[in-house]
């Protein structure tokens, strides 16, 4: 069983110094020599790093407005070649969320190669909403999403990656949190050959809090990568990041790089990040790298944890003592482990579908 866990240490590249640009020519070609891409060879990207065309698949559910992306960029700017190419397409789908709207599901169904898609999600002041972005289909898709969480508002964004076996998706998701706002970001990555998500959170006002949750399951030769980043640039905000993964099969590979930056101004910050991976078979590889950069001593608390590999002996024994064979007990523990995140989606149909898929994967039927 291969396990990769690193301590907090000095990151290879300080996250705060990463270059940002809307111009593709400002970025070098994707290479595993670059920290951002060190785990993901360009061959797995199905040409997303070359040219993109604007999304031709279907978007069903939530109502969208089409506009240009000229006024975008206040929340986040591309940090890699692929995201900048999406930006260069110049179009954006706008999702405006008002008070009293509650849950909206958007099914993003792709079927073509080298597709680029940009969203701007705006949650107005005092609004409390949930948006589910359900990614399905095949082909390859690069996304850039800006999420504006206005002052005193409450927003949950759920990004589900439930694509076909040969599909590729990259998604840069930036959220900016207004004063006293609350943001919950949930990622569930189950289906797709290559999945790379980079969710970034920054703050525009004090008193905001963010919770970032993730669940993923890689089998076959899937590569599933998540790089959550919380940029504490404002005082008295809190963040809690918790990603859970399971791996099965000698070629499955997951990557979790969790960056938390606490800048000088961010006094009174409270943050915790955690990544746990359960390995069902030997050979599967779970890279797990928590990075905590702290530039001020005046924080309330900061911690991180990362563990890969072992099942809890007491849990397995308890289940076995009830007649459940070891392998089945492990599968049950994995289901529960991931279901803790999945059960927060709030849509019974989607939850059942994802749990059924996990079950099929566990039983080697998918």
């Amino acid at each position: 069983m291969e396990q990769h866990s690193h301590g907090a240490g000095i990151p290879l590249q300080v996250r705060s110094e990463r270059s940002r640009s809307v111009n593709p020519s400002d970025f070098p070609a994707i290479s595993i020599r670059d920290e951002q891409w060190r785990y993901l060879p360009a061959e797995r990207l199905d040409g997303l790093d070359r040219e993109l065309t604007f999304f031709s698949g279907s978007l069903e559910g939530l109502s969208l407005k089409e506009t240009t992306n000229e006024s975008c960029g206040n929340i986040g700017l591309p940090e890699d070649l692929i995201a900048s190419q999406v930006w260069a397409l110049g179009q954006v789908k706008l999702i405006e969320l008002f008070n009293g709207q509650e849950t909206g599901l958007l099914t993003i169904s792709n079927n073509a190669s080298k597709q680029g898609l940009q969203f701007l999600i705006k949650n107005e002041k005092f609004a409390k909403n949930t948006v589910i972005l359900n990614h399905v289909g095949s082909g390859s898709l690069a996304e850039v999403i800006e999420i504006d969480v206005a002052d005193e508002s409450d927003l949950t964004v759920i990004s589900i990656q439930n694509l076909d076996d040969d599909a590729v998706i990259t998604s840069s998701q930036f959220a900016k949190l207004g004063r006293n706002s609350r943001f919950k970001h949930i990622v569930v990555s189950i289906g797709g050959k290559t999945i790379r998500l980079v969710p970034t959170v920054t703050f525009a006002g004090e008193g905001a809090s963010v919770e970032m949750l993730g669940a993923y399951f890689a089998n076959g030769d899937q590569h599933i990568e998540h790089r959550p980043f919380v940029d504490h640039n404002t005082a008295n905000c809190s963040s809690n990041v918790a990603y859970k993964g399971a791996l099965q099969g000698a070629k499955a590979h997951t990557v979790w790089v969790g960056d938390v930056l606490i800048r000088q101004a961010a006094e009174g910050t409270k943050t915790y990040e955690l990544n746990r991976n359960l390995l069902l078979t030997d050979g599967a590889r779970a890279d797990s790298v928590p990075n905590l950069e702290i530039e001020t001593g005046q924080i309330e608390g900061a911690g991180h944890a990362s563990a890969s590999g072992r099942f809890d002996d007491e849990q397995l024994f308890y289940l076995q003592a009830r007649g459940i064979p070891e392998l089945e007990a492990k599968r049950l523990v994995v289901k529960g482990f991931l279901n803790e995140v999945i059960s927060q989606i709030g849509s019974p149909e989607l939850e059942n579908e994802l749990n059924a898929l996990i079950e099929a994967k566990l039983e080697g039927k998918k």
């Binding site: 024994f317 009830r322 523990v333």
Partner: protein, 249 residues
């Protein structure tokens, strides 16, 4: 008529200072329908005996045997032991996040019976068993033992006992942490299971109060990793009055 025999059982655990022997030659025979109480001071090895019977990987049997109807239990994995008819109600039941009680119970029943129970009668049976144990039906949708109070965890253990219908049950301090009403409810559950399945019971306890509800045929005093004295129910009364002083030197 089934029989569970423990012969000259020696068990060690790995500690930082090396292997440590905890059980030092336990002899015990339990037949169907019998109730054996085990009483003994803290740290004397009662839970170690319970876990060793159930096959917890932490405990290494260095000598002796456990036989179930002549079959070598020590060669069986914990799940095989459960399927062979052994049950352990744990002193500290484990939390399994994300798995609902109803899913867990159905999975365990399926494993033990070798086939999935017919859905409708099963739901009815679970509901009845929960009602008997005065467990709110909301428990079936909660994660296994997660956030359960101490007493709720114990009721949940006895719920499993009633539904899984073992031939032999080891109850490790099932009475600890129960209020007076819960003690009675849980004891009645054990008695129901005993009658229904002609179950043999090994009841580990510190208190005689549970023995008013679950009448032991035999009482064993457990000291320093083995049985120091055996007797009938009157022995429990004497232990409660006198303590374990006379067994300790």
């Amino acid at each position: 008529m089934a029989i569970l025999e423990i012969k000259n059982l020696h068990v060690s655990v790995d500690t930082e200072a090396g292997s440590k022997e905890i059980l030092r030659g336990v002899d015990l025979t339990i037949r169907s329908g019998e109730t054996h109480a085990i009483m003994g001071p803290n740290g004397s090895g009662k839970s170690t005996l319970a876990y060793s019977i159930a096959g917890h990987p932490k405990y290494q049997v260095t000598q002796g045997e456990i036989l179930l109807d002549g079959e070598n239990v020590l060669e069986m994995s914990p799940d095989e032991r459960a399927r062979a008819g052994l049950f352990l109600a744990m002193q500290y039941p484990v939390e399994i996040p994300g798995i609902s009680v109803s899913n867990f119970l159905r999975t365990a029943k399926t494993a033990i019976a070798g086939e999935a129970p017919a859905l409708r009668p099963w739901i009815k049976e679970v509901k009845e068993a929960m009602t008997n144990l005065k467990m709110d039906s909301a428990f079936s949708e909660r994660s296994v033992n997660e956030g359960f109070s101490g007493g709720e965890k114990k009721r949940h253990e006895i719920l499993q006992l009633e539904l899984l219908k073992p031939n032999f049950a080891v109850l490790d301090e099932t009475d600890s942490g129960l209020d007076v009403d819960a003690l009675k409810i849980v004891s009645e559950g054990v008695n129901r299971a005993q009658v229904a399945n002609d179950m043999g019971v090994l009841l580990i306890t510190h208190y005689t109060r549970i023995l008013k509800y679950i009448k032991p045929d035999f009482v064993h005093v457990f000291v320093a990793g083995k049985v120091a004295e055996e007797g009938g129910p009157e022995l429990a009364e004497r232990l409660e009055a006198e303590g374990y002083d006379r067994y300790l030197d």
